[in-house]
């Protein structure tokens, strides 16, 4: 039975501001899940805390709205316990790269088979528009009394440095393209990171919808030149095709260089993808083969009468005096 988009909507009241870029991301996620015909009860959307992190409540799969900055470890725990679930993580840029930066870096090192979507609006939306870690030094939004005092980080480069095996960028008002990226990210074998440009009309009056559409950025004919372009259309290929160290390194380097483009000429699409790095699940299974056939969530632990199913006799024998 094919899943309809409407099957993925909930009746929970959505309280995002009118015109918020989060709506586009939400739609794209729902479209992607419908297209992939996932089983909602085998799918979990996990988030942190922030405007964007309210998303799970609007998606009719299992939803886990966690703590500020902790979406990744919560999601990792769920996936480790039940590797057969489809786990998608969503959250804000502050959530992911401010308070959550430590998990961001270290989750890259694990390469669990999940997708992480960051709503990148360059502000802390829910706490009223303070600068987030992706906002550039000196930028001033209407929510800031003074220009941003911190340098901004390049989330794509940070993701590459942290070892994510799929690194991409989407734009929340290009819903179809974004939907495709989400599908790719979910299908990717390994940890996929997807940075999404998300206008916050309430606090960020610099990177607005109009900005990305090309406001103030005219071509010689005086026409608006959009500030984004598609990597796929530019002949860029971020995929590592063979399990080859050299190709891998080249593709990583290419992705890093590409990630420097931002502003008037901002690439969207897949910067890097490498499925030749074993996932954490595979690494665990290589240590204990039963992890694959009998992962934690599938394991029975007790007989019907409550006596344990584990047999520790051998271990006890080792401890016998």
């Amino acid at each position: 039975m094919a899943l309809k988009l409407s099957d993925l909507k909930t009746t929970a009241h959505n309280d995002w501001c009118p015109g918020c870029g989060d709506f586009g991301i939400l739609n794209a996620v729902q479209m992607a899940l419908a297209e992939m015909n996932v089983d909602p009860s085998r799918t979990v959307v996990v988030s942190g805390v922030g405007c964007s992190s309210k998303a799970p409540h609007f998606i009719k799969t299992y939803g886990v709205h966690t703590l500020h900055g902790r979406a990744l470890p919560f999601a990792s725990g769920i996936k480790l316990a039940n590797p057969n679930l489809e786990v998608v993580v969503e959250g804000g840029d502050g959530d992911g790269m401010g308070i959550g930066a430590g998990h961001f870096v270290n989750s890259g090192r694990r390469n669990l088979d999940m997708l992480y979507i960051v709503h990148d609006n360059e502000v802390y939306g829910l706490t009223k528009g303070q600068a987030s870690p992706t906002m550039k030094l000196g930028m001033k939004t209407k929510s800031l009394p003074l220009p941003n005092i911190n340098q901004g980080i390049n989330p794509l480069m940070l993701a590459i440095a942290s070892g994510y095996t799929f690194v991409a960028r989407g734009y929340s008002y290009d819903v179809r393209h974004l939907k495709d990226l989400i599908v790719k990210g979910i299908r990717h074998k390994g940890f996929a990171f997807l940075d999404v440009l998300q206008p916050c009309p309430t606090y960020n009056d610099v990177q607005t919808k109009e900005y990305w559409a090309g406001e103030g950025h005219l071509d010689t004919d005086g026409k608006l030149q959009p500030r984004t372009y598609k990597l796929e259309e530019s002949g860029y290929d971020g995929v590592v095709h063979n399990p080859d160290e050299d190709e891998m390194e080249k593709k990583v380097q290419q992705a890093v260089l590409k990630s420097f483009e931002f502003g008037d000429h901002t690439p969207l699409g897949v910067f890097y993808q490498n499925e030749h790095v074993p996932t954490y699940e595979e690494r665990l299974a290589s240590r204990m083969p039963s992890y694959k056939t009998n992962p934690p969530a599938d394991q029975e632990i007790a007989h019907a009468d409550g006596t344990p199913l584990a047999n520790i006799d051998k271990l006890l024998e080792d401890m016998r005096v």
């Binding site: 909930t10 929970a12 009860s41 990792s76 480790l80 039940n82 039963s290 009998n294 934690p296 969530a297």
Partner: protein, 660 residues
């Protein structure tokens, strides 16, 4: 007070095999049917600092260490300087005469204060500040000194095996010290050799050489000192029941396997990580074959899927450790994390989230010397109040604390049962004194272990409405059926915000009251349901002059002390609180109502349990015996303290200070 046991100590530089020697000693003793209790003291350091191990053995049950040393085995100078004066009159010191001229000021690892004190004593006695001097001082106090030419003997053994490297041979110094000790008390040489075989099982060559070392040491000591030491250690008949020789960390790990814990997260920290490493080393789990017969479905699963397993994951920090474990709980897997103080401090927010979302998760808290980094390898029971109140706002949690290795085992299983039954975090405190102590205990009775998964829903949910599950629906008990994430038949949500039965955010005040009552009410439910024998232990006569009130690892020392106090005719009983929350208020009130002098015994500064007792019962506990110098309480200390109290000579807050 009459001790009928043997207290043996060995010391040496961290990394030089002190642990191994103590293990061999203990195993050899245990193999002879003796009761063994071992205690290790070491610095927060990798190599080079002094560490020592004290092993107490007896034919009767013992559960604690004593301050007295009957025999000190040494093979380098620092141990002699530090411990020679702890040996009792008529006790023994075994040492290497090559060390005779080593001077106190040549040992940089001895703290300036300690050095100054020793120098003072030696000067007062007119002795030289070297090994010779300190041993002479011991001798004057009645200690027997037994030189043994380690290197010479080792070289002889080496020659027989074609091993000439002195540094290789010296790796057996420790075993030689053990053998020399046993020889002095005429213990069965074969038991020592058997213990070695067990210890070095995987390496036959090593066993062979070590066995030769044992023989050489026995031969030398018997020849030279036969009959010179009065105490004799004889094996006892081993009863039908088998004993185990275990360490706290491994006990807990074992119980986690049995309890069905299938996700363990951790960030390395002393003294917790040993437990996770044990689990990691035994990540694949044998399943009970009888399953197949009894329940064909389970049997099929076993056959099909093979072994069980536990995913042990080293996380980037303790915030990740606890939140990952909660993630496992969400997925319906028994999950836990183990840590000690600094790591636990980082878990406060995660605990509250688990409480809010009614997720079962077990945190094993190995309590060590605080505050802050504190005394990472030393002992304290300083985290009780924090465990009770960690995390902002109010949410239910159960806190239990084990008193010995046997309890640690069964309590671990209970912790998981409680956490699933009440769908909330459980903090299981195992203090450092248990984590790192080794002892013989009766074999665990696996048949006594029962797994209770509470209202866990297995299989598809059938009562979802419009595909939505009322995960947090109101029920008379306050506990709702819990289908894990991934359950077919519907979906639901979770959030750290206050939420409605579906798990969606709501700020409605009426719903809020209902949800708070639901969550907090589970503690009242637990209070009603959990039988008293899982919550408190009571020892001694129903009525007594003195009632000791304590928790955690002090149990052993208190019980041992009580036997001596009984001999002295002092009537003492002892209430050990194991489940701190929900607190067994009525029971404790009842006991204390019958008490004359109530004494709070705790290894912390402020008497934390005592405060809790006052809070819950309004009974003023006015006599405290506390200790916070980083060393565990010995049975002797407790004995003396209670004696003082019984004589009315103790200050209201008696601070114990023994230990090196």
């Amino acid at each position: 007070m009459k001790r009928d046991d043997f207290s043996w100590m060995i010391g040496g530089v961290q990394g030089s095999g002190v642990d191994t020697s103590a293990n061999v000693f203990a195993k050899a003793a245990a193999a002879g049917g003796l009761s063994v209790f071992g205690k290790r003291e070491y610095y927060s350091n990798i190599k080079g600092e002094h560490s020592y191990f004290q092993v107490r053995v007896s034919k009767d049950t013992i559960r604690s260490h004593v301050d007295t040393v009957d025999m000190l085995a040494t093979f380098e100078e620092e141990t002699i300087f530090r411990h020679a004066l702890e040996v009792r009159a008529e006790g023994a010191i075994i040492y290497d005469p090559d060390q005779d001229t080593k001077r106190l000021d040549q040992v940089p690892t001895i703290e300036a204060d300690v050095r100054a004190t020793l120098n003072g004593e030696l000067a007062k006695a007119g002795l030289s500040p070297d090994v010779r001097g300190i041993l002479e001082l011991a001798r004057r106090r009645g200690v027997h000194i037994y030189p043994i030419p380690y290197n010479e003997l080792l070289k002889e053994v080496g020659a027989r095996f074609g091993e000439t490297s002195l540094s290789t041979l010296q790796r057996m110094l420790n075993v030689m010290a053990v053998a020399a000790s046993f020889a002095l008390v005429s213990y069965d040489e074969n038991l020592v050799k058997e213990a070695l075989k067990k210890q070095f099982r995987a390496k036959p060559k090593v066993v062979e050489m070590n066995v030769a070392v044992v023989a050489a040491a026995y031969e030398y000591m018997n020849q030279k000192y036969a009959g010179s030491f009065a105490y004799k250690l004889a094996p006892v008949k081993v009863s039908g029941e088998t004993n185990l020789f275990v360490r706290g960390n491994s006990t807990v790990a074992l119980a986690k396997q049995l309890a069905g814990c299938r996700l363990q997260t951790y960030y390395p920290i002393t003294p917790a990580s040993d437990e996770s490493e044990f689990l990691e080393g035994h990540a694949e789990i044998e399943l009970d074959g009888s399953a197949a017969m009894e329940n064909p479905q389970v049997g099929e699963a076993v056959a099909l899927k093979g072994k069980g397993n536990i995913a042990v994951v080293q996380s980037e920090d303790e915030i990740a450790a606890v939140t990952m474990a909660i993630g496992g709980g969400f997925a319906g897997v028994r999950s836990s994390t183990s840590t000690s103080g600094p790591g636990f401090s980082l878990m406060a927010e995660g605990l509250g989230y688990a409480g809010m979302n009614e997720v079962p998760v077990v945190v094993t808290l190995y309590s060590r010397g605080g505050p802050s980094t504190g005394l990472p390898t030393r002992h304290e029971q300083g985290d009780l109040r924090f465990a009770l109140h960690a995390g902002h706002g109010e949410f239910p949690r159960l806190v239990l604390a084990s008193g010995d290795l046997t309890e640690a085992f069964y309590d671990t299983v209970r912790a998981f049962n409680y956490s699933e039954r009440y769908q909330t975090p459980v903090i299981h405190i195992v203090d450092k004194a248990l984590a790192n102590s080794d002892a013989t205990i009766p074999k665990f009775d696996v048949n006594k272990v029962k797994i209770d998964r509470g209202l866990l829903v297995k299989g598809p949910v059938t009562d979802a409405v419009n595909g939505e599950i009322r995960r947090f629906q109101m029920t008379p008990s306050g506990v709702s059926p819990r289908p894990p994430l991934g359950t077919k038949g519907g979906v639901y949500w979770n959030t750290g915000d206050e939420h409605d039965p579906l798990g969606h955010i709501t700020e409605d005040p009426t719903n809020r009251d209902m949800m708070m009552d639901k969550r907090m009410g589970k503690i009242d439910l637990a209070d009603k349901e959990i039988p008293m024998d899982e919550r408190v232990n009571f020892f001694g006569p129903a009525a007594a002059d003195i009632t000791l009130l304590s928790w955690g690892s002090t149990k052993g020392a208190i019980l041992d002390a009580m036997e001596w106090l009984k001999e002295d005719g002092i009537l003492v009983n002892f209430v050990q609180v194991r489940l701190i929350n929900p607190f067994p208020t009525e029971y404790i009130k009842g006991v204390l109502a019958k008490s004359k002098t109530i004494v709070g015994v705790e290894m912390n500064y402020s008497g934390q349990l005592t405060g809790i007792v006052r809070e819950r019962t309004c009974v003023p506990v006015e006599q405290l015996v506390v200790k916070y110098n980083g060393r565990p309480m010995s049975s002797e200390e407790i004995y003396s303290a209670v004696k003082l109290i019984s004589q009315g000579k103790a200050p209201k807050r008696l601070v114990l200070k023994n230990g090196a």
